[in-house]
C-alpha cells in the first residue's frame, strides 16, 4: 500500500511529463495544461494522505524498490523515505506546484510550446519529489541533478535568445560545481560509514567514536558546497538572478519556492552530520549571513522587478542558512515554508504585472498599477508585508525566530541579519511604490491595454496571499506545532524553546521597528519625494557598484572563465600541434635517415670497397680481438 502510494506520488508527474512530451502538441494547449496540473494535483492529494498517515502514526515510511548501484562496501537501493520532513516538503512542493501549474495555463497560453512548458514543469515536480523522498543520498542526487536539468530547460525555455541560453547554461554549470562538492561529500561519508542511507547513516554517525574528526568536517563542508550551488549562496549565487530569464511561473516555482530550498532540505536531512561538525556549522552561519547582506544590498538598487525578487530570494536563503548554521533546523524549515508562500505570491504577482504590460520588466516604466490591477496589488502588498516582517504576517514569525536564534549565538551575525531585514523591507516597498503607486510611466499603448489578469492567475495569487498571511500560525513562538512535528528528526530536543522573556520581546520590537523603518524610508523616498531610479548611464558611485552586482560576474569571468578558455586555446593551438608534430617528427626522422642513407649509395665502387674493407676489419677484430 505504502509502496503503491509512493509510486503514485512519484510517477504521476512523470506520466504527465510523458503524455505532454509525446502527445502534448496534438492535445491542444488547454488540455495539455490541464493534464499537467492534474498530475501535480494528484501528487498533492497523495501527499495529503501521507501527511495524514504520518501525523497519526508518527513514524516514517521506508520503501525499497530494488538494488541500484553496487559498490564493494556500499549497497545503494532505489528507495524512498517518507517521514515528517519529506512529507512536509512534499506538501508545499506539490501544493505550490499545483497552484503555479494552474497559473501557467493562463500565463503561458500565448506560447506556441506550451505543452513543452508543462512537460518540463511536470518533470521538475517528478525530480523534486524524488529529491525529497529519496531514502539515501544518491537517490537525492538523482533529484538534485534532475531539478538542475529542469531548471536549465526552463530558464532556456525561450531558446531563440542566446542570452537566455547563456543564463541557463550558467545555472547548470554553477549547480554542477556544487554537485561535485556533494559527490565528494558522499564519497567521504560512504567510505567512512559504508552507507549512504539516511537511517543507517544516522545510527552510524551517532555510534561513531571520533566525532568532530577532520574527515567528517570535510565531508560536511563538501556537502555544504553542494547546498551552496543549489541554494544560491556565496560564492555560487550568481546564477540565480540570471535565471530570471525563464518564464515567471518558473521563477516562482523553481527559483523561489522549491528547488532553491533543496540545499536547506539536504542540510536539514543530514542534520546529524552537521551537528557533528561544529566548524562547518560556523562556516554555514557566516556564509549565510554574508549572503543575506550582500544580496540585500544589491537588491536595493535593481530596477528589473524580477531581479529585485531574485536578490531578495538569495538574501532570504542566506537567512535560512544562518539559522541552519546555528543548528536551528526547524527555524530554517519554518522560514522555507513561509518564504515559499510569500515569495511565490510575489513572483506570481510580478508575473501578473509583466503579463499585463506585455513583457515589460523595468520598474521605471511602471507605476500606478494599483487601480488597474487591484487583486494583484493587494496580494502583493500582503506578501510584501509578510517578507518585511510586519507583525502577524507569516514572515514576521519565521524571520523573528531566525534573528532571535542568531542573537543567542552570535551578536554580530544578528546585526548582519537585522540590517538585511531592514533592507528587505526597504527594497520590497520600493518595488511596491514604484510599481503600483503614482502615475503610469510606460507608453500610451501599454496604458491602454492595462487590465487585471484572468481568474486562473488571480486565484493562485489569492490563495498564496492567504497562506502568506496565516502561514505563521504553524509555529507560533512558545507554542510551535512545527517544532513538535519535526522533533523526531533531530537528535537534540527540538530547538531550545525560546522563553518569551523581556529579551525576546525587545528583540521582536527591534525587528518590527526595523521593518517599519525600511518601509518608511521607501515611502519617503519613492512616494513623498517621487523619486524614480535613474537610467543606467546616470548611476554613479556606490549605487553603480551595487547596480552592477559588485562586478562579481565580471570577476568570475576574468578569474575562471577567461583563463580556462585561453588555456583551452593554448592547448588546442600549441600543445596539440606540438604533440602531433612530435609523432610526425618520429616519422620524419626515419624518412630523413633513409634519405641520407640513400645518398650513401653513391654508386662509387671504390667507396663501397673501402667501406667493405673497413667493415671486414671491424668484424675480424671483433671476432678475434674482443675476447
Amino acid at each position: 500500500m505504502d509502496t503503491n502510494l509512493a509510486l503514485i506520488l512519484v510517477l504521476t508527474p512523470l506520466l504527465g511529463f510523458l503524455v505532454n512530451v509525446f502527445f502534448g502538441k496534438s492535445l491542444g494547449k488547454t488540455v495539455s495544461g490541464a493534464i499537467g496540473t492534474i498530475a501535480v494535483a494528484i501528487s498533492f492529494v497523495v501527499s495529503l494522505l501521507l501527511f495524514n498517515q504520518i501525523t497519526s502514526t508518527g513514524k516514517g515510511i521506508q520503501v525499497t524498490l530494488f538494488d541500484w548501484i553496487q559498490i564493494s562496501n556500499l549497497k545503494i537501493n532505489l528507495g524512498f523515505l517518507l517521514d515528517q520532513l519529506s512529507v512536509l516538503w512534499l506538501l508545499f512542493v506539490t501544493g505550490i506546484g499545483s497552484l503555479i501549474h494552474l497559473y501557467s495555463i493562463s500565463y503561458m497560453h500565448d506560447d506556441e510550446n506550451m505543452h513543452k512548458f508543462f512537460a518540463y514543469l511536470n518533470l521538475f515536480i517528478f525530480f523534486m519529489i524524488t529529491l525529497v523522498i529519496g531514502s539515501n543520498l544518491l537517490v537525492l542526487f538523482i533529484g538534485w541533478e534532475g531539478v538542475g536539468l529542469c531548471s536549465y530547460l526552463l530558464i532556456g525555455f525561450w531558446h531563440k535568445n542566446q542570452n537566455y541560453n547563456d543564463a541557463a547554461k550558467k545555472a547548470f554549470i554553477m549547480n554542477r560545481i556544487g554537485d561535485l562538492g556533494l559527490l565528494i561529500g558522499m564519497f567521504i561519508i560512504g567510505s567512512m560509514f559504508s552507507t549512504l542511507d539516511y537511517a543507517t547513516l544516522q545510527t552510524a554517525v551517532a555510534g561513531a567514536s571520533d566525532l568532530n574528526s577532520p574527515l567528517l568536517s570535510l565531508a560536511a563542508l563538501c556537502l555544504f558546497i553542494g547546498a551552496c550551488g543549489k541554494s544560491a549562496q556565496i560564492p555560487l549565487y550568481t546564477w540565480l538572478p540570471d535565471a530570471m530569464a525563464g518564464p515567471t511561473p518558473v521563477s516562482a516555482l523553481i527559483h523561489a519556492a522549491t528547488m532553491v530550498t533543496a540545499g536547506i532540505f539536504m542540510v536539514t536531512r543530514l542534520n546529524f552530520v552537521f551537528d557533528a561538525a561544529h566548524d562547518v556549522q560556523n562556516v554555514i552561519a557566516i556564509i549565510g549571513g554574508i549572503t543575506s547582506l550582500v544580496a540585500a544590498t544589491i537588491g536595493l538598487v535593481q530596477t528589473d522587478i524580477k531581479k529585485v525578487l531574485a536578490y531578495s530570494t538569495v538574501s532570504q536563503l542566506g537567512l535560512m542558512f544562518l539559522a541552519l548554521g546555528f543548528g536551528a533546523y526547524e527555524v530554517a524549515v519554518f522560514h522555507v515554508i513561509t518564504h515559499a508562500f510569500f515569495k511565490a505570491c510575489l513572483f506570481l504577482g510580478s508575473g501578473s504585472v509583466i503579463h499585463g504590460l506585455h513583457g515589460e520588466q523595468d520598474m521605471r516604466k511602471m507605476g500606478g498599477l494599483r487601480k488597474a490591477m487591484p487583486i494583484t496589488f493587494w496580494t502583493m502588498l500582503i506578501s510584501s508585508l509578510a517578507i518585511s516582517g510586519v507583525p502577524f504576517f507569516s514572515g514576521f514569525f519565521s524571520k523573528d525566530e531566525i534573528l532571535m536564534t542568531a542573537f543567542h549565538h552570535n551578536i554580530s551575525l544578528y546585526v548582519v541579519g537585522s540590517i538585511a531585514s531592514i533592507m528587505t523591507a526597504f527594497y520590497m516597498f520600493r518595488l511596491m511604490f514604484l510599481t503600483f503607486f503614482k502615475e503610469f510611466r510606460g507608453t500610451e499603448e501599454q496604458k491602454h491595454h492595462l487590465h487585471e489578469s484572468g481568474s486562473l492567475i488571480t486565484i493562485p495569487l489569492i490563495i498564496l496571499a492567504i497562506l502568506a498571511t496565516f502561514g505563521g500560525l504553524i509555529s507560533l513562538p512558545g507554542n510551535s506545532w512545527l517544532n513538535e512535528y519535526l522533533a523526531p528528526l533531530f537528535s537534540k530536543a527540538a530547538g531550545e524553546e525560546h522563553h518569551l522573556g523581556t529579551t525576546e520581546y525587545t528583540l521582536m520590537g527591534v525587528a518590527v521597528l526595523g521593518g517599519i523603518l525600511g518601509i518608511l524610508i521607501a515611502y519617503i523616498k519613492y512616494f513623498k519625494q517621487d523619486n524614480v531610479p535613474e537610467s543606467d548611464e546616470n548611476i554613479t558611485g556606490l549605487s553603480k557598484v551595487l547596480y552592477n552586482k559588485y562586478y562579481v560576474d565580471e570577476a568570475y569571468d576574468a578569474v575562471f572563465v577567461q583563463p580556462i578558455n585561453s588555456l583551452s586555446k593554448f592547448f588546442r593551438d600549441y600543445i596539440e600541434t606540438g604533440l602531433s608534430a612530435l609523432v610526425f617528427g618520429l616519422g620524419k626522422v626515419t624518412n630523413e635517415i633513409a634519405f641520407q642513407g640513400k645518398k650513401l649509395q653513391s654508386g662509387s665502387i671504390g667507396l663501397y670497397l673501402f667501406v667493405f674493407v673497413l667493415g671486414m676489419c671491424a668484424i675480424i677484430s671483433y671476432i678475434f680481438l674482443a675476447q
Binding site: 512530451v21 530494488f66 538494488d67 541500484w68 548501484i69 553496487q70 559498490i71 564493494s72 556500499l74 532505489l78 513543452k116 544518491l138 542526487f141 538523482i142 538534485w144 541533478e145 534532475g146 536539468l149 536549465y152 532556456g156 531558446h159 531563440k160 542566446q162 541560453n165 547563456d166 547554461k169 547548470f172 554549470i173 554542477r176 560545481i177 554537485d179 561535485l180 559527490l183 565528494i184 564519497f187 567521504i188 560512504g190 567510505s191 570535510l218 580556462i564 578558455n565 588555456l567 583551452s568 586555446k569 592547448f571 588546442r572 600543445i575 596539440e576 604533440l579 602531433s580 612530435l582 609523432v583 610526425f584 616519422g587
Partner: protein
C-alpha cells in the same frame, strides 16, 4: 554451442555481404549483425545457466598457439556491447549512399568479427592476431570512404595505422618474452601463473602500456584520435570510438594488470594521474573546438581517461566502474556521433559556427540529442552516471584528490557539452531547413536512449555479469 559460433556468423556475414552486391549488402549486413546479436544473447543465456561456452583447440604447433576463446562474464559483456552496437551502427548508416557498398559493409562486419575475437581470445598470440586484424578494416574504411581532403585524410589515417601498429609491436615483444618464460605457451592461464621479478614486470607493463595507451588513447599518445575521428566516415568513427577504444581498456583489465601486478601496484599513482590528466586535458581542449566531431573526439578522450584511471586503481569498484562506464560510453558516443551525422546529412557541414537554431525546426531530434548530451555528462538516472559514480568513488578511496580532479569532468563536461548544444541546436531559427529525424534515424536513437535509461536505473544485470570475472582477475593480481 560455444562462443566460436558468433565469430563464425560474423565472418560468414562479412563474406556474404561482400558477395551480395551493392544493393543488398546493407540489408544483408544488418541481418547478420542481428543474427550475431541473437547468438550472443543465446550464449549469454547459456553462460548464465552455467554452461561452459569456452573453446580451446590447438591451432599451430610450432610456436604453440591455441585457438582458445574464453568467455567469462567480462568478455561476454564486451561481446554483447559489440554485438549490440554493430547493428545500430549499420542501421544508422542507412541514410547514406556509399559507393562500393558491398565492400564497405563487408568490412564493418569483418571488423566486428576481429573485435569480438579480441574480446574472446585467451591465447596471447591469437589475441594479438585479432587485435591487429581489427586495424585493417578500419584503415580502409577511413581511407576510402572518409571525408575531407584526400591527402590530409591519407596522412591522418596512415599516422593512425602506423602509430597503433608500432605500439602493438611492443605488446608482441612482451608476449614472446612471456611465452619464453612459460615454456612456449601463450595461454592466458599459463601466463597468469608466471612469477616474474619486479624488473621484468616493469618492462612488460610498459610494453603493454604503450600498445594500450595508443589505442585507448591516453595523453600524450592521443594525437591520432581527433584527426581520424574527423576524417573517417561516421560509421568508422562510431566503430572506433564505440568499440575499438574499449578493446584497449578491456585489454588493460584482462592482460596488462594481471600479467604485471607488481608493476601495476608500484606505479599505480602515475597511471591514475595520467588518466586524470587526460580527463582534464581532454575537457579543456574540447572547450574550444570548432568541429563537432573533433569536439566529441576530445570529450571521448576525457571519458576514457577516467575509465583508465578507474582500471588502474586495482580495486573491484574501480574495475567494475570502468567496465560499466565502457559500456555506457560505447552507447552514448555512438549516439552522439550519429547525431553529428544526422546534422551533417542536412547541413553538409561539421563546423559548429555554421549550425544553430535547429531546435525550432526539429523538436524530436533536439530532445534525443539533448538526452544523449545529458547522458554524456553523466546525469544521474543515465547509465553513464552509474559508471562514473563508481569510478569516482573508487578513485576517492585511493586518494580524495583524485576524485576531486577527476570529478572536474562533471563541471567541464557540462561546460563544453552544453556550450556545444547551445551553439548547435539553440538560437535563432537557422536559414537552412532542417528536416526532423526520419523513422530510421529515430529508431537508432530510441534504442540507444532506451539502453542508457534502462541500465541507468537498473544496472544490476550487467554488474552481476561482470563482477565474478573481475573478482577472478583481482585474485590473480593479488596472488602475491
Amino acid at each position: 554451442m560455444n562462443v566460436s559460433t558468433i565469430l563464425i556468423i560474423l565472418l560468414i556475414g562479412a563474406f556474404a555481404t561482400y558477395f551480395s552486391g551493392d544493393k543488398l549488402s546493407s540489408k544483408v549486413a544488418l541481418l547478420f549483425s542481428l543474427a550475431a546479436l541473437g547468438c550472443s544473447i543465446l550464449l549469454l543465456n547459456n553462460y548464465n545457466a552455467g554452461e561452459n561456452i569456452s573453446l580451446i583447440t590447438s591451432w599451430i604447433n610450432q610456436p604453440k598457439i591455441s585457438f582458445a576463446l574464453n568467455a567469462d562474464g567480462l568478455a561476454m559483456a564486451m561481446v554483447l556491447l559489440t554485438a549490440a552496437l554493430t547493428p545500430i551502427i549499420i542501421f544508422s548508416s542507412f541514410g547514406n549512399e556509399y559507393k562500393n557498398a558491398k565492400a564497405f559493409y563487408g568490412l564493418i562486419l569483418f571488423m566486428a568479427f576481429a573485435m569480438t575475437g579480441t574480446f574472446l581470445a585467451s591465447d596471447g598470440l591469437l589475441y594479438y592476431i585479432f587485435w591487429e586484424l581489427a586495424l585493417v578494416p578500419i584503415y580502409f574504411i577511413a581511407l576510402i570512404w572518409g571525408n575531407g581532403d584526400a591527402e590530409e585524410r591519407r596522412k591522418a589515417v596512415v599516422k593512425f595505422f602506423i602509430y597503433t601498429l608500432a605500439g602493438s609491436l611492443f605488446m608482441l615483444t612482451a608476449f614472446i618474452y612471456l611465452s619464453q618464460k612459460a615454456n612456449g605457451s601463450f595461454l592466458i592461464e599459463d601466463l597468469y601463473k608466471l612469477n616474474l621479478s619486479a624488473c621484468e614486470q616493469f618492462w612488460i607493463f610498459l610494453a603493454f602500456f604503450l600498445a594500450y595507451a595508443i589505442k585507448i588513447p591516453l595523453i600524450p599518445f592521443h594525437t591520432w584520435q581527433a584527426n581520424v575521428y574527423q576524417k573517417a566516415p561516421t560509421v568508422g568513427t562510431m566503430l572506433l570510438s564505440g568499440i575499438m577504444l574499449k578493446m584497449g581498456l578491456y585489454s588493460v583489465i584482462r592482460w596488462q594488470l594481471p600479467l604485471a601486478p607488481i608493476a601495476a601496484k608500484e606505479y599505480m599513482y602515475v597511471f591514475i594521474a595520467l588518466g586524470i590528466a587526460g580527463v582534464i586535458y581532454g575537457s579543456i581542449v574540447a572547450l574550444r573546438q570548432n568541429d563537432l566531431k573533433k569536439l566529441l573526439a576530445y570529450s571521448s578522450l576525457a571519458h576514457v581517461g577516467l575509465i583508465a584511471a578507474g582500471s588502474y586503481t586495482l580495486t573491484l569498484d574501480g574495475l567494475r566502474g570502468a567496465v560499466l562506464q565502457m559500456i555506457a560510453h560505447g552507447f552514448v558516443v555512438v549516439g552522439l556521433f550519429f547525431a553529428a551525422e544526422v546534422i551533417f546529412r542536412r547541413f553538409e557541414t561539421r563546423e559548429i559556427a555554421e549550425m544553430g537554431g535547429i531546435r525550432t525546426q526539429s523538436p524530436k531530434f533536439t530532445s534525443m540529442f539533448l538526452i544523449l548530451v545529458l547522458a554524456s555528462v553523466a546525469l544521474p538516472s543515465t547509465f553513464n552516471f552509474v559508471g562514473e559514480f563508481t569510478v569516482l568513488y573508487s578513485l576517492s578511496q585511493i586518494n580524495i584528490w583524485f576524485a576531486v580532479l577527476g570529478g572536474t569532468t562533471i563541471i567541464l563536461g557540462a561546460y563544453y557539452m552544453l556550450r556545444m548544444f547551445q551553439h548547435v541546436m539553440l538560437g535563432e531559427t537557422n536559414s537552412k531547413t532542417f528536416a526532423d529525424v526520419s523513422l530510421n534515424e529515430g529508431i537508432s536513437f530510441a534504442v540507444i536512449i532506451a539502453v542508457l535509461l534502462f541500465f541507468g536505473f537498473y544496472p544490476k544485470p550487467i554488474t552481476d555479469l561482470i563482477t565474478p570475472s573481475l573478482e577472478t582477475i583481482l585474485q590473480v593480481i593479488n596472488k602475491n
